[in-house]
């Protein structure tokens, strides 16, 4: 009887949990499979470097990534010298100097990624009032995470005949409301990968979304690796403690087979 109660409770909980997930009127998200998925997931370093290259050459013209620092790129496998060179390509406003003036200097590894515009207003002015969001946390800011970003990037198409598309807007299957101010940013071979790997749109989207996932959560690998050790320890501890519990309670149980 008690087990029936527990089962009923579990069923109710499961129903509620399932129903509590937000409804979605857009098509089901595409899921290309990610190296960082699953309990043993890791980041594919090649994809990360490809993704960073795409960000640098394409996305960074409009999108900032202000929570990242150039020194963070060490996790992608770049050497200290490579990072210094990557940083030095950008200029940072520093100062004031002894004359009281602000001046420009080359970015250093400890600096945050230099944004494309000095402030939000300048960015909006360049984009008809729309603000390309900062991408540092974009994967954690969207339901569906990497799957959503991948679907969005590969979901641009011509608007259906019966769809009224606003001025300057673009149609995307996966963007809520289907109208997005951003024009399709990536096509096949938008970028020539440094390691000469093929770059069809699906690969570019996969690589940049891998990079963006890393950017949103650089400690993902550490989290999953620590998790494996902790879970194993806790499972072993549970077994040992259960054994101790049974032994200690045995005398209360005595007479019981």
């Amino acid at each position: 009887m008690r087990r029936l109660h527990a089962a009923a409770a579990a069923a109710l909980l499961a129903l509620a949990a399932g129903a509590a997930l937000a409804e979605d009127e857009t098509p089901a998200l595409k899921s290309p499979g990610w190296s960082f998925d699953g309990i043993f997931g890791t980041f594919d370093r090649a994809a990360l470097q490809h993704g960073f290259q795409i960000y640098s050459e394409v996305c960074s013209n409009c999108h900032s990534m202000s929570l990242l620092r150039y020194r963070d790129l060490a996790a992608l496998g770049y050497s200290d010298d490579e990072i210094k060179a990557i940083a030095a390509q950008k200029q940072v406003t520093a100062g004031p100097n002894d004359q009281g003036e602000m001046f420009q200097r080359a970015a250093q590894p400890a600096d945050n990624f230099v944004p494309p515009f000095p402030n939000e207003q300048a960015n909006r002015a360049a984009h008809n009032g729309a603000l390309p969001p900062d991408l540092s946390l974009i994967i954690k800011q969207r339901d569906g995470g990497a799957d959503y970003c991948y679907s969005l990037l590969t979901g641009f198409k011509a608007a259906p005949a019966d769809f009224k598309l606003g001025d300057g807007m673009n149609y995307d299957d996966y963007f809520p409301g289907h109208q997005i101010a951003m024009p399709q940013p990536l096509q096949d071979d938008s970028v020539a990968y440094a390691d000469k790997a093929p770059a069809p749109l699906s690969q570019e989207a996969h690589d940049v979304c891998t990079f963006l996932t890393w950017a949103s959560e650089p400690t993902l690998e550490a989290r999953k690796q620590t998790g494996a050790k902790v879970m194993l320890f806790l499972l072993v501890m549970s077994v040992v403690l259960y054994g101790a519990k049974r032994k200690i309670w045995a005398e209360v149980h005595s007479g019981h087979a």
Binding site: R69, Q108, A110, L234, V240, G243, A244, I248
Partner: protein
């Protein structure tokens, strides 16, 4: 809430139960220690703090002989002084050396490549952490003779408790400060740029190893 589990009182010690309770106590103890570790470790300097402590390149083009500039490295004030030939002569004056606590820099307050009569990489440029080894005030740069008092040949004077150092940061006898001013890792990446916080190639030295910053 008890961390350890003890055997029931007054019952015979079955070896299996004792082993189990011992194992249970041990594993719980290990778990508790492992849980504490990240909490304590999180108080270590974070990565941005460590990055901010990276070496800095200082342009010394504008520094004139007899002048000193002050820069920040790891939140410490670092003096870069350009010594004149006359000032360098006083550093080798036996009468002056006799008044110093540690004229040969025997105590570890500088890297090996600064363990010389000028306590630096290049004699002309003196790079030193400007923190008095007494109680941490910032000493004044007083290169002119007689500026602090009669017999003063030039050096550093700490206003807090009167400690004195020569123009190579070596501390005088009879003052409260116990050690010479510490010399940080540094080397010249070019004739006009000195990098503070990094040793010359092939050298190792950590500022944290000195007796007193």
């Amino acid at each position: 809430m008890t961390d350890t589990v003890q055997a029931p009182h007054g019952h015979d010690g079955e070896s299996r139960r004792d082993f189990l309770t011992l194992a249970a106590s041990a594993i719980t103890g290990v778990g508790a220690a492992c849980t504490l570790w990240p909490l304590i470790s999180s108080m270590e300097p974070a990565q941005d703090v460590l990055a901010a402590g990276a070496p800095v390149d200082i342009d010394i083009k504008a520094l004139q002989p007899g002048q000193q500039m002050v820069v920040l490295w790891r939140s410490h004030p670092v003096f870069i002084a350009r010594r004149t030939p006359d000032e360098l002569k006083t550093l080798q004056d036996q009468k002056e050396l006799a008044q110093l606590r540690d004229p040969d820099s025997g105590i570890l307050q500088q890297p090996d490549y600064a363990k010389n009569w000028h306590r630096s990489v290049k004699p002309e440029y003196f790079v030193v952490v400007g923190i008095c080894t007494h109680l941490g005030c910032i000493p004044e740069f007083q290169p002119k003779p007689e500026s602090v008092g009669p017999g003063w040949e030039g050096g550093y004077f700490c206003p807090c408790h009167g400690s004195r150092y020569d123009l190579a940061g070596r501390v005088f006898q009879g003052v409260p400060a116990p050690y010479n001013l510490p010399v940080p890792p540094h080397h010249f990446v070019s004739d006009t740029v000195v990098r503070i916080g990094e040793n010359p190639p092939g050298e190792t030295f950590d500022l944290n190893d000195v007796e007193q910053i």
